[in-house]
């Protein structure tokens, strides 16, 4: 079996997506949020994954959702209370992911001091690329980008993360055990914004060459 297919099966047997908020200083700033002293964590359901060629669906009555391009780290084996120095041993591979967010719902939730779950958890709200692996650790900085209808909206690099991948694995695994196939979404850089039905998102990584395309539609009745 190819590494790509193995990775797909691995992700399909995962049981959680642990997403990190505000892990790039310029993005925290653009949302008017404080730069966190420890990682901001939230969960997305694995039912929100979508892969090419399927579309991102905007649920009515919402008419726009925000894209957030992020590097996803796929866990390869059970990780509990992992030391930062050992963390790379628990990584099996990576995806490029979008943490789609119904910002209007998230803002209301924040206002009411309620969870972000619904705003982040709809079906198709976590588009992911093909799975890929990197041989050397620590991994080289990954530069990634996102375009809407061909226009560049986000450009980021993992070297700008506030909390590194090994630190995130250490931190999260000290709270909740990570299992094979679980995913960590490592946060989004500056430049988030809305898409509407009819638009198309493309996103990619420079090296290794990863690219993905997702049309945006209104969720069918």
């Amino acid at each position: 079996m190819s590494a790509e297919l193995l990775g797909r099966k691995l992700i399909d047997c995962g049981t959680k997506i642990v997403a990190v908020g505000r892990n790039y200083a310029a993005h925290a700033k653009e949302l008017g949020s404080a730069i966190p002293k420890e990682p901001v964590l939230f969960l997305k359901p694995t039912s929100s994954y979508v892969r090419e060629p399927d579309p991102i669906e905007i649920p009515k009555p919402i008419t726009e959702v925000d894209y957030e391009a992020e590097i996803g780290v796929v866990i390869g084996r059970r990780a509990k209370d992992v030391f930062e120095e050992e963390a790379w041993n628990y990584v099996r591979g990576y995806v490029l992911a979008l943490d789609m967010t119904a910002r209007s719902l998230q803002n209301v939730a924040k206002e009411k001091r309620l969870p972000w779950t619904v705003s982040k958890g709809y079906d198709t709200f976590t588009p992911i690329s093909k799975f890929f692996q990197l041989k050397k650790t620590p991994i080289p900085p990954l530069s990634f980008w996102l375009k809407v209808d061909g226009q560049t909206k986000q450009k980021g690099c993992t070297s700008d993360m506030i909390f590194s991948i090994p630190f995130l694995i250490h931190y999260i695994s000290g709270i909740m055990t990570l299992n094979e196939g679980d995913m960590i979404l490592t946060g989004t850089p500056h430049g988030v914004g809305p898409v509407k039905a009819g638009q198309t998102i493309t996103a990619g990584i420079a090296s290794p060459a990863v690219q993905m395309t997702f049309p945006v539609i209104t969720r069918p009745d």
Copy 2:
């Protein structure tokens, strides 16, 4: 295989716990929260399940966590956009569950308008009873209780839920697809409060006879 063992396997292959907040009016009131117009949802990771005879662990430096006794509904098959009238067809069985909550962390999170994930997501923060089934639908009202060191703290009945089980399945499945083995925690009645290491929680349902016991310890280093 016994129904109980089948249920256990089913839960072990689930990928999410969708928890409902403030589903009993008297509990919303005791936390000073508004009675919700639609269900308040949040996710707990399945890595937080714990079964007898294992203990509930309080992670340092926290010294107390709140119990919340809740009825858990175990989904039997893929549920997407389910009509309320069809919802019982998607239920395979039930558990009695505790939605353990680090209230101090949750209160800080609310203050900062951040997710409740960490306060609800530690390993052992979702103790569950054996799985049981009920033949008739709609199910009869389930009366359940929780004691700390033998002293009654919570008494509730599913007939007091603001949002019924079929409505919750309809509502949640319209947002995120529920899969086989997924769990809905239906909210807790009045009487939540803290436990410390050294105490013991017992909880049960009157009929069918379900009972469970969980000692509380400090999480070992």
